[in-house]
């Protein structure tokens, strides 16, 4: 049995991060994600959410993020993170560092490497002024 979709809108700022994690954990509970994997889900949310907080809106402009979760199939959690900031497709912008040498490694840019590895799917679309990034997590 699948449940209705749930959404929550919050300020696009780091102070909302834990509220975002708590909200998506409700979806994880419904999708029966094992408790041992909740931190993994938090990590994906943190990376995607903080990306919006840092880059979506011009400095000084207070934007919002809308989180929506659904259970598209038993044992699968789908989460959409939507903002009305500048158009940005993180899937084309991200790149894996080409070296493992500490001296030449960038200190940033690891968030999407983690999201791509932990989510079972990741899609982006620009829709009437909205950035909509959706990831799915297999809960089985």
């Amino acid at each position: 049995m699948t449940s209705a979709t749930q959404s929550q809108t919050m300020a696009a700022k780091s102070a909302s991060l834990h509220a975002a994690m708590e909200f998506v954990r409700k979806g994880a509970l419904e999708a029966k994600l094992p408790e041992a994997r909740l931190d993994e889900l938090d990590l994906v949310i943190e990376e995607v959410f903080m990306n919006v907080c840092r880059y979506a809106y011009p400095e000084g402009e207070q934007g919002t993020v809308t989180l929506t979760f659904s259970i598209p199939a038993p044992g699968e959690l789908s989460v959409e993170v939507a903002d009305q900031g500048v158009e940005f497709d993180p899937l084309t912008a991200s790149r894996a560092p080409s070296t493992l040498n500490l001296e030449s490694l960038p200190i940033g840019g690891w968030g999407l490497v983690l999201v791509k590895a932990l989510a079972s799917s990741l899609t982006y679309r620009r829709d009437s002024g909205w950035n909509r990034l959706t990831f799915r997590i297999r809960c089985g």
Partner: protein, 113 residues
Amino acid sequence: MSILTIEQKQVSDQVVLFVSGRMDAENAPEFEAKCTACIAEGATSLVVDLGELAYVSSMGLRSFLSVAKTLQGKGGALRICRLNGLVKQVFQITGLIQSFPIYESVESALTGG
């Protein structure tokens, strides 16, 4: 939800930082500030025990890399030990497990062996 605890111990002439809890976007700068303070006091290498750290995000990785680069510039290193669980997974996914000196125990990190 995001409590980070950092305990500092001096073992002979080396500084060991025992990091526990969760290191996320909000509190990773605390770790970096602690390391910066140790470096300002003269440390050129740091041993970091992550055995009790349950969570780390890319902001934590950023802090580890920033501190490691600073120490490397001083001819030292950030020696990481007791990786496990999600934290170990994060280092494996990013490949950073191959970029840092990683040790099984504090003792082996202290001797660098």
